[in-house]
């Protein structure tokens, strides 16, 4: 049973997962967790980046010396100090889900695909360094863009359009206006 699903089955099941998330907790979102992971690391080096203070009534409040981490009453600082929170555990679980799905039923990732995807190899060659630099640069742009936009494919595009959020449609328009020409120019061959 080493096969993936057709588009209809895929769409039904993927849609059900997004619905399940809203029904049980809240809409799925991922890109914020990159900030939380960063802050988890850098806040150890510079404690001013995430501070917990307990006020006279015993309530915990959070703040940061950085304007972004301090946003919305220091919610990013709070979550990075309390790393075993819903959003971060969710992302770790996604890794495990990908692992289990590839082992049980597949599709398995072929050996020659493990570092360099076929379409990259066909168009840009089999240099390991080139692909890793490309992947790093791609990750950089994707997360700068996601943070400026306030969400990514899951938060803005899927969860957003599912709720008919104006922001979801705007994000999708921005993404595809650039991603389609970039992919067509960079990858000429299948």
């Amino acid at each position: 049973m080493n096969n993936s699903w057709g588009w209809l089955k895929s769409g039904l099941i993927l849609g059900t997962v997004f619905l399940l998330a809203v029904a049980l907790v809240k809409p799925i979102g991922v890109s914020t967790q990159y900030v939380i992971a960063d802050c988890f690391i850098f806040c150890k080096l510079n404690p001013d980046l995430a501070k917990e203070t307990i006020d006279a009534e015993g309530n915990k409040t959070y703040s940061s010396s950085n304007a972004y981490l301090n946003k919305s009453n220091g919610k990013y600082a709070k979550n990075s100090l309390n790393i075993s929170n819903y959003g971060f555990v969710f992302v770790i679980a996604m890794f495990l889900g990908g692992f289990v799905a590839s082992k049980l039923g597949g599709p398995k990732v072929e050996k020659e695909e493990a570092w360099i995807p076929h379409v990259w190899r066909e168009n840009l060659g089999s240099s390991w360094t080139k692909r890793m630099v490309g992947a790093f640069a791609s990750g950089f742009f994707i997360l700068v863009g996601s943070r400026l936009a306030g969400g990514c494919t899951s938060g803005h595009m899927m969860s957003g359009m599912m709720q008919t959020s104006l922001s979801g449609y705007l994000f999708a328009a921005g993404v595809f206006a650039i991603a389609v020409p970039v992919a067509i120019i960079v990858f000429k061959k299948k």
Binding site: F18, P27, S84, A135, A137, I142, S165, V175
Partner: protein, 192 residues
């Protein structure tokens, strides 16, 4: 720590990661094929998933099964479009999203490590320049149509609807059917 939340995160996150892999969203060849318009499998999947989940969401909110407090509409501002475009550069080049790359790493795609590393650096870069952007490029944060708005009435009072005065489930239902019909009618490829 709230254990119910942790268990929910493990279940829903695990399911999401596994499903991303099964629908082949973790495969950069499929993402690039979608963006090059030569393999529209993922376009059909995403369109259908959005339409289907939206239809059920608005029906289940209308019959009070899903509380409208679970609605989280993000703000619309100029940076959403600009950020989307910057995202598009990386998306077209690498073939991963912030979420799919994590499930892809689990599935054995090791170039995801570098994508995630680049993402961590990119996210931190934004954290560092945010204060400067707010002062010097404040047009990026100019709200569009009021910011936190939806097209259809959600029933959540903190989210105004652009199409007000019409039943939200009807508006969302029409949009949802358009998405699902789009998925059905879209050919398998637009280019060779």
């Amino acid at each position: 720590m709230n254990y119910t939340n942790i268990i929910l995160a493990l279940v829903v996150g695990g399911l999401f990661g596994a499903v991303l892999h099964k629908v082949q969203a973790t495969n950069p060849n499929k993402i690039v094929g979608f963006l090059r318009l030569t393999d529209l499998h993922l376009a059909k999947v995403i369109l259908f998933a959005i339409g289907f989940s939206s239809l059920l969401l608005f029906i289940l909110m209308a019959v009070n099964v899903i509380p409208t407090s679970h609605i989280h509409v993000k703000s619309a501002y100029v940076g959403v479009i600009v950020g989307g475009a910057i995202f598009g550069i990386g998306f077209g080049l690498g073939g991963y999203c912030p979420g799919t790359t994590i499930a892809a790493l689990g599935s054995g795609r090791k170039d995801s490590l570098f994508m995630i590393l680049g993402g961590l650096v990119g996210a931190w870069f934004y954290v560092l320049i945010y204060g400067w952007l707010q002062e010097n490029m404040d047009f990026l944060y100019a709200k569009i149509a009021g910011g936190k708005v939806s097209l259809a009435v959600t029933g959540n009072e903190s989210v105004p609807a652009l199409i007000d005065g019409v039943n939200g489930a009807v508006v969302a239902g029409i949009i949802a059917i358009l998405f699902m019909a789009g998925a059905y009618m879209l050919p398998n490829k637009l280019r060779n």
